[in-house]
């Protein structure tokens, strides 16, 4: 590796540079067929994926009289049960425990929605993909729209919990505006990568539910991470806990966790590179594999 870097630096007109230059020219020539071109084309169709994402959510609950209120009811049930049954022991008498718990559950629901639905980002729309020529990246965006609307409604609970805990609006809340785009970015890229992997590995969609259940308990959602031991390890090495922290800490008026922000940015870059590379390389193989 070092040799390659040195060689690239020391021999600017060497074959390595020529090779890179040729690759770049080839990439420009075939840009319209690249994964990035697909991503750009999809982003230019916001009305399509926003409308279809909302439609998916409505259709999923079309036969229920309470319709899309069901995800809200589910989240509320979680919050109420945990708060009243085990909140006393886990909340450690903290007056802002209700807000702490509610924010944790809402972010967890978003992550869970992205992972569980993301695995089916492409499989679910197989018939459509095979029959209508559209950019493929609209399908992860469609999945993300569905999950965002479903979870977004739960923000009402966060507002209510902050009000009950007498946590007044403060300047630190601005950090949330930075966190939300990172959530959407990670969510889309994760839905993309998981969707592709889900086509090739049929077991993946069955793995997601147990993994999310495990994450529910190994992430500081309803318990505090203090001191040392396994809880602390689970907090430090679990990316989800950092994703939660960059929203929860500023909302509760605590100091902003810069370390968590860097972990989140790092995770987003890693997920992005893996997912986009997979997408560029394997998207047509995926269609042949359907």
């Amino acid at each position: 590796m070092t040799y390659l870097v040195l060689r690239m630096l020391l021999l600017p007109f060497s074959r390595v540079w020529l090779f890179i230059l040729m690759k770049l020219v080839a990439m420009i020539q075939t840009y319209h067929r690249s994964g990035i071109a697909d991503v750009v084309a999809s982003l230019k169709l916001p009305r399509l994926w926003l409308r279809l994402g909302v439609r998916d959510l409505v259709n999923d609950h079309a036969r229920a009289s309470l319709g899309i209120l069901w995800p809200l009811i589910g989240a509320l049930a979680w919050i109420v049960i945990i708060y009243f049954f085990i909140g006393n022991s886990l909340g450690e008498g903290n007056p802002s425990y209700l807000a702490y718990l509610t924010i944790g559950i809402v972010v967890y629901n978003f992550a869970s929605g992205v992972l569980v639905n993301g695995v089916n980002s492409f499989m679910r729309y197989r018939n459509l993909i095979l029959n209508v020529p559209n950019p493929l990246f609209i399908y992860p965006l469609r999945t993300l729209t569905k999950v965002t609307v479903s979870t977004g409604l739960q923000i009402l609970f966060v507002i209510a919990a902050l009000y009950i805990c007498k946590s007044p609006p403060q300047l630190s809340w601005i950090w949330v505006l930075l966190a939300l785009p990172l959530y959407f970015l990670t969510g889309t890229l994760l839905a993309l990568g998981m969707g592709l992997a889900g086509v090739f590995f049929g077991d993946l969609r069955f793995m997601m539910q147990p993994i999310m259940r495990m994450l529910m308990f190994t992430t500081p959602i309803f318990w505090y991470s203090k001191g040392e031991g396994i809880r602390m390890l689970a907090t430090v090495y679990n990316p989800l806990s950092h994703y939660i922290a960059i929203v929860r800490e500023p909302l509760l008026g605590n100091s902003f966790p810069y370390l968590s922000l860097w972990v989140v940015i790092g995770c987003t870059i890693v997920i992005g590179v893996i997912s986009l590379t997979l997408f560029h390389v394997a998207r047509y193989s995926m269609i042949r594999h359907f």
Partner: protein, 244 residues
């Protein structure tokens, strides 16, 4: 000028279960060995150039590669080997239920499908009126589509696919479900559209449909072009081949 070029285009589907290499009698598919794996050679080095004004009917056994050829032509699939160059706006009619939700009405489905087909927003209301008028579903337009017959769904799907101007129109076996009246209407509508659309590719098992809508025939056999040219002679040879 719109055109569609298949340059030694080959498509191999992965085999999902162990399968012996060789020709499969009764179906048009061919199993080949690529590296360590067996693959289904759906299309094998297809060379074909279609220019403005070409109306080509594709015939062949089940599994001979008709649908795959159309998917390549639409850009949905890319070939494993070779290349496909598409110049022009493509519309497809591969199914009469383009991502349709059978619990929703035709109106809702037409709006969603119009989005999927990138029909400009300002034209969606016109498209809606046009499709409902063509499909003659009238008062049923507000009913859930699960209550429609397959023929009614075909009318809606066909009306939608042919509701806007396109350069390249690709159709795969959707006439079978319609009645005679629909067939006549579809023919008239397609003839009007062909005046605007430059290239038509239509896959069908029916000689009548091919000869009604197309000027040339392409016979696919085991992923290869067996013949390309006059409809009458190719259909005759194909019938003879099938009877043996």
């Amino acid at each position: 000028m719109p055109n569609l070029i298949f340059d030694k285009a080959s498509v191999f589907y992965p085999s999902h279960a162990p399968i012996a290499a060789g020709e499969q009698r009764g179906i048009g598919a061919r199993i080949i060995k690529r590296g360590h794996r067996h693959s289904i050679a759906s299309l094998d080095k297809i060379n074909l150039t279609l220019k403005s004004g070409d109306r080509v009917g594709i015939i062949g056994q089940n599994g001979s590669g008709k649908s795959t050829l159309l998917r390549l032509g639409s850009g949905i699939l890319r070939p494993n080997e070779g290349d496909v160059i598409i110049n022009g706006r493509v519309a497809t009619l591969f199914t009469t239920t383009i991502g349709m939700n059978m619990d929703a009405s035709a109106i809702k489905n037409i709006r969603d499908a119009a989005d999927l087909m990138s029909i400009p927003r300002k034209l969606i209301n016109d498209t809606l009126a046009d499709v409902i008028d063509f499909s003659e579903i009238g008062a049923f337009a507000n009913q859930p589509m699960r209550t429609y017959s397959s023929g009614m769904r075909a009318r809606v799907g066909f009306g939608l696919a042919t509701s806007f101007d396109t350069d390249i129109l690709l159709i795969d076996e959707v006439f079978g479900t319609g009645d005679m009246q629909f067939y006549k209407k579809a023919r008239k509508r397609l003839e009007d559209k062909i005046g605007q659309a430059s290239i038509l590719m239509l896959a069908s098992h029916s000689d009548r449909i091919i000869s009604t809508f197309c000027e040339k025939a392409l016979w696919l056999h085991q992923g290869k072009i067996r013949d390309f040219g006059s409809i009458d002679s190719i259909c005759k040879d194909y019938r003879k081949f099938m009877s043996t």
